[in-house]
Point group: C2
Chain length 136, copies 2
Amino acid sequence: MGTGHIKKSITRWHEMLESRDMSILNELLAEEVVFRSPMAFTPYSGKQVVFFILTNVIQVFENFRYHREFLSEDGNNVVLEFSANVGDKKLKGIDMIQFNDEGKIIDFEVMIRPKSGLEALALEMGQRILAFQANT
Amino acid sequence: MGTGHIKKSITRWHEMLESRDMSILNELLAEEVVFRSPMAFTPYSGKQVVFFILTNVIQVFENFRYHREFLSEDGNNVVLEFSANVGDKKLKGIDMIQFNDEGKIIDFEVMIRPKSGLEALALEMGQRILAFQANT
């Protein structure tokens, strides 16, 4: 499988978060990418909507830091553990990311704990989506 | 590191869930194990309380199935992806488990999505904890 591509993509992902250069996100997402939110069961599909969600989530998290990294045996799936603050709430979370053999992200699932952190994130994201809809 | 011990412990974990033989859980948990709940930020400490929580969570989940497995580079940490139902709610989750070099579980963190699934689990677990307290 494409382990070399995927290690490079994970490195690019970290570079994106450090530099806040969202053109890297554009380069990493596959056209058919699916996003599975910590809030809703039904996934979001397509590069444009997933780009919008991820750029906003990144802005909402404060003191964002990655910790452990976990790989599937085939090397095409990774779990990145993180911690962050949203307002006065502390939270833990994971990004569970599936890559295709070209190293593009095809599935991005986020889980957050505890419940108070998830609720704080849901509130902030809801406000951003409403503001976006009001401006379009 | 103790990768051989840990692969054996992961196998034992799966055997426990299939057989519902909770003596295996007793064998796998270290005395000083810490449990990080999807509901609350503050962790629970100690084998007795973690044993109680895990045996109850296992009973609450219906149609429980594991999917992808992810390992940290040092082999001492694993993420197990699962899906389950609680009542009429579907949920996804992960067990993020840290082992010591003897293959005993020292840290067990659970994350659940979406919010409706987490709330259904919280409700069921709350009732079980109340029933337990009423009987002791």
